[in-house]
């Protein structure tokens, strides 16, 4: 069997034996490149988080939009009713973190692809990372500090409170 030139253009990890030493080391995927392990982890994360997000978001859309009164049921009381249940708190928290990190990494990839100037890339990614951090921190704090049963100035429950507040 002859080895053509095109074979040497496709170095793949784990099959070095037939032509080891014949590929310039800088084209090898194995070895100690600094960004290699991070990019590999990011690649795996996109697939794992993506599969989880399909379930998380499809259930989110079904519960909020397709059952009961659909879009008209969504108000303060609806959110309060959901977050009274720790399962929905955990559900929304997981969705928030995974979606922001998945979307943030996707945007990072797109910026790397299209912004050719070093300074432009740096600026766009700085804005991106700041936005992702702000949104994740804000969303997490909202979920954990949410108070469903609010009182007015005279100590009466607000009308918008969910019905379970009467029993508290």
């Amino acid at each position: 069997m002859t080895t053509t030139k095109s074979d040497a253009l496709l170095p793949a990890q784990g099959i070095e034996a037939p032509r080891s030493g014949r590929i310039d080391p800088k084209y090898l995927r194995s070895g100690s490149s600094k960004s290699g392990s991070f990019e590999m982890a990011a690649w795996v994360f996109m697939r794992v988080s993506g599969a989880a997000l399909v379930v998380l978001i499809f259930v989110h859309l079904t519960v909020n939009l397709l059952v009961g009164e659909g879009i008209h049921q969504i108000d303060f009381g609806f959110v309060a009713g959901k977050w009274a249940n720790p399962v929905w708190q955990f559900w929304d928290l997981t969705m928030l973190w995974l979606a922001m990190l998945h979307g943030g990494n996707g945007m990072r990839t797109i910026i790397n692809d299209y912004a050719e100037k070093d300074s432009t890339r740096m600026w766009l990614k700085s804005i991106l990372y700041l936005s992702v951090i702000v949104i994740i921190v804000l969303g997490t704090m909202v979920i954990f500090t949410f108070e469903p049963c609010l009182l007015d100035g005279s100590g009466q429950l607000l009308e918008s409170s969910p019905s379970f507040c009467q029993n508290v």
């Binding site: 939009l65 959110v79 979307g103 804000l138 909202v142």
Partner: protein, 128 residues
Amino acid sequence: MTQTKGTLYKGREGMWSWVGHRITGVGIFFFLLVHVLDTSLVRVSPEAYDAVIGAYKNPIMIVGEIGLVGAIVFHAFNGLRIILVDFWSQGTRYHRQMLWTVMGLWVITMIGFTVRHLMLFLDGWGGF
């Protein structure tokens, strides 16, 4: 199977699914930023939250929601296709058939969602 022109990738299913995945991904990302901000209004006051979330209940936004869900459903199904291309031993062989499967499932899902969303919207809509 005949291939008339172009290359294996450029201008064909592989490229267009990639373009669709990018465009829907960017759109969903920006919606997500807005959606976390509007939900955060529950910490401001019930009135502030209800006023802003009320904006999602007018006919123009209903059309926008169908578009948003269309983007999400495509990104979700095509994302699962990408996972299969990467991890299933026959994935690269059937990536084109899987794209047409994605499009078929997308049409079915979107017909179901659109009908249900419009019916629920019209049921509770108070008019202009």
